[in-house]
């Protein structure tokens, strides 16, 4: 039984690992293969700061809220393991700022110590009159993706560096299931007008005195179109651009200026920070995550595709919940094919 995973960002690699963990014992013949045109450090996940935080509103999508929670709880459980440092996983506290009161987010009880900001704290941020403080997690792609790759390699998962043009290309010949974790380029494999780029740009600076994340919100301009500052283990990420429908991966001078000026206004000490890099990436935005099975005709045979893409700007935040859901879908497929003698345990 061979399973091909298309995509080696956080979604593809974590889905592969989760599947291996769940099924390797039950199905020793299971072989996993990862196909991607980009590997770390050249994936979208590598550019993300790595802060666990969902969007402000889940738009009633309770399923995604549950996947976010599963991811947070899983990562929190890993925090004290010896692997945490190698994974790029650590706790971080910080601020979400608003110009008016807003309802509490769906994730207020998932993160640690969620509370409103006090008047004295708001003095730090002129122009903002309301906000939250909480402790969350950072999972830096630059560390997490190599860690996932190492775990998968240890387990005998094979990697293929190629641009896959169709599902048929990787299926057949014993590959009965394809996991589509192709992120922003899922549309090349199967047209999906709901999948659009949410272009982001970030400036990387050295500002080691910054110990908190600071995320501002402009309810009119929408999520991540307002300055944010996220300190990582090596450098601090400055951002605040979300351009729907913009496919450009070139850094824009106009966006650079807007990010720099607004972040320095938000945190004056940044004026002395040294710029060490810049990056643009395309968030794979979709009204909801596409996580479902689809039967695909593959020549004479019928194959199955499990789609797992469209995680927008919250891929790291939701990745493990989605990986487990994808593994459950694989479990159903395996059961139908009578590959599994007994149904998988309740965890699935």
């Amino acid at each position: 039984m061979r399973v091909a995973i298309i995509g080696a960002g956080v979604i593809g690699l974590s889905s592969a690992l989760c599947i291996h963990q769940q099924f390797h014992g039950l199905l020793p013949s299971l072989e996993l293969e990862v196909y991607a045109d980009h590997f770390t450090p050249h994936t979208t996940s590598d550019g993300a700061a790595g802060l666990w935080q969902p969007y402000l509103s889940d738009h009633g999508n309770l399923q995604e809220t549950l996947w976010n929670k599963e991811t947070f709880d899983y990562l929190l459980g890993q925090l004290h393991s010896p692997a945490a440092k190698e994974m790029g996983l650590f706790l971080i506290s910080g601020y979400n700022l608003f110009t008016e009161p807003v309802p509490d987010p769906s994730w207020k009880n998932i993160v640690l110590g969620f509370r409103n900001l006090t008047p004295k704290e708001l003095e730090l941020f002129p122009g903002y009159s309301y906000g939250w403080f909480n402790t969350a997690l950072m999972l830096e792609g630059r560390s997490y993706l190599p860690w996932l790759t190492n775990r998968l390699t240890e387990k005998g998962v094979k990697f293929f560096h190629k641009k896959v043009e169709s599902f048929q290309e990787v299926s057949g010949d014993g590959v009965d299931v394809v996991l589509n974790c192709s992120g922003i380029r899922a549309g090349h494999l199967q047209p999906d007008p709901e999948l659009q780029p949410g272009r982001g740009q970030i400036i990387k600076v050295l500002a080691p005195w910054v110990k908190h994340f600071i995320i501002t919100h402009n309810l009119k301009s929408g999520i991540y179109n307002s300055p944010y500052i996220i300190p990582g283990s090596e450098f601090t990420v400055l951002g605040g651009v979300y351009q729907h429908g913009n496919w450009s991966e070139e850094n824009s001078a106009k966006d650079h200026k807007s990010i720099w000026d607004s972040c320095c206004q938000l945190l004056p000490p940044l004026q002395k920070a040294k710029i060490v890099g810049e990056w643009s990436g395309l968030r794979p935005a979709r009204p909801s995550v596409r996580l479902e099975r689809e039967r695909i005709g593959l020549g004479n045979l019928q194959g199955e595709v499990i789609h797992n893409y469209g995680h927008g700007g919250f891929g790291i935040t939701i990745h493990w919940g989605c990986a487990m859901a994808a593994a459950r879908l694989l479990g159903s497929i395996l059961q139908e094919k009578k590959q599994l003698a007994t149904p998988p345990g309740p965890r699935l």
């Binding site: 004290h80 110590g113 403080f133 090596e234 000490p269």
Partner: protein
């Protein structure tokens, strides 16, 4: 009377901040800092510089609170300015955890730090050996940057700074009109204060840039304080020990205790061991005194004995000491006038 000449003995956080306050309250004064050590070799350089007050048994609480409040307010303003990175001042959030219930549910400083509240059940789960906790946000003064920044500001006012070991305050008579004693542990020998006792502290300064939160055990012995470039791991409180040599057994013990609070510290690199002697006293001595010898008088202002709480109250005590220097100047001008009559 010519502009008063003030000598400040000591160039740790107390000496430098006191000198700076004096230049502000008495712009016409000529201020000189004299010390046998300057940054990075002062006791202050060993300390983490966290603004978490130490309680002095014999100083009235309202006075300690006033000192802390003034210090916090002053540093808070700098932390949010363009000077913050040069001054090494930054906000840091974290937890103080207790194995048994803390003496006071609400310490006197709880309304001065930011966002003080009890830790939630979920937060406490990270510390299986601890049952209670407090979460808050406070400030940290990294050294050497903070001391170097104070020195830079002093230089801008024209204050001179000299490396000189003062063995006796009287040696300054004639050269200076007023002496300010910020000698820290050195005050024991300088003024023979037997109430001043060293409390030895050993710390590790490590490279662990993923640590963004502070963690402190309420017993004050184990703490993890992330600074700009290094994380300070502590510590010890050895009363009466004068040894400035690092102890390898202690290093191992500190590291183990900190790793049990924060396991990821196992991956810390570049471990540097430092030792400092906290100049400890039952109350901080901020006091005027006129020394007298053979009919000659020497006005002295004392500002020492801050023990484990130097950074937390430094600006408050500096302001009070500067005020006392002002009183000394008035007294000198008064007697100078009388001498003319």
């Amino acid at each position: 009377m010519a502009p008063p000449k003030v000598a400040v003995v000591g160039a740790g956080v107390i000496g430098l901040s006191t000198a700076l306050c004096i230049t502000e309250t008495c712009p016409s004064c000529s201020v000189t800092v004299l010390s046998d050590q300057f940054s990075p070799n002062t006791t202050s350089d060993v300390a983490a510089g966290m603004l978490i007050p130490h309680t002095y048994p014999d100083t009235p609480t309202h006075r300690q609170k006033q000192w802390f409040k003034e210090t916090f307010t002053y540093l808070f303003a700098i932390s949010n300015s363009a000077e913050a990175s040069e001054a090494g001042i930054h906000l840091v959030s974290g937890w103080q955890v207790f194995k048994s219930p803390p003496k006071e549910e609400l310490p006197f400083w709880s309304d001065i730090v930011l966002g003080f509240r009890p830790m939630s059940e979920a937060e406490l789960q990270k510390f299986p050996q601890h049952r209670f906790g407090q979460a808050f946000t406070t400030l940290k003064c990294d050294c050497p940057p903070y001391l170097l920044w104070l020195e830079k500001r002093l230089e801008a006012t024209g204050t001179q700074m000299y490396t000189r070991k003062v063995a006796d305050l009287w040696e300054l008579h004639g050269e200076y009109d007023i002496v300010v004693n910020c000698a820290g542990m050195g005050a024991q020998q300088l003024v023979g204060d037997k109430q001043l006792i060293p409390v030895r502290g050993q710390v590790l300064k490590v490279h662990a840039p993923w640590v963004k939160l502070f963690i402190r055990d309420g017993d004050g012995l184990t703490y993890i304080y992330p600074g700009v470039h290094r994380v300070t791991l502590g510590g010890t409180r050895e009363k009466g020990s004068w040894s400035l040599s690092p102890d390898t057994g202690t290093t191992r013990d500190i590291f183990d205790r900190c790793c049990s609070l924060e396991p990821s510290l196992q991956g810390a690199q570049d471990i540097e061991v430092k030792v400092g002697l906290r100049p400890s006293r039952q109350c901080v001595r901020v006091q005027r005194e006129v020394l007298s010898q053979g009919g000659v008088k020497l006005p002295v202002v004392h500002n020492y004995g801050h023990g484990a709480g130097g950074f937390s109250v430094h600006w408050g005590t500096a302001k009070e000491a500067a005020h006392l220097v002002g009183e000394c100047i008035s007294a000198l001008q008064g007697s100078s006038l009388r001498a003319k009559l």
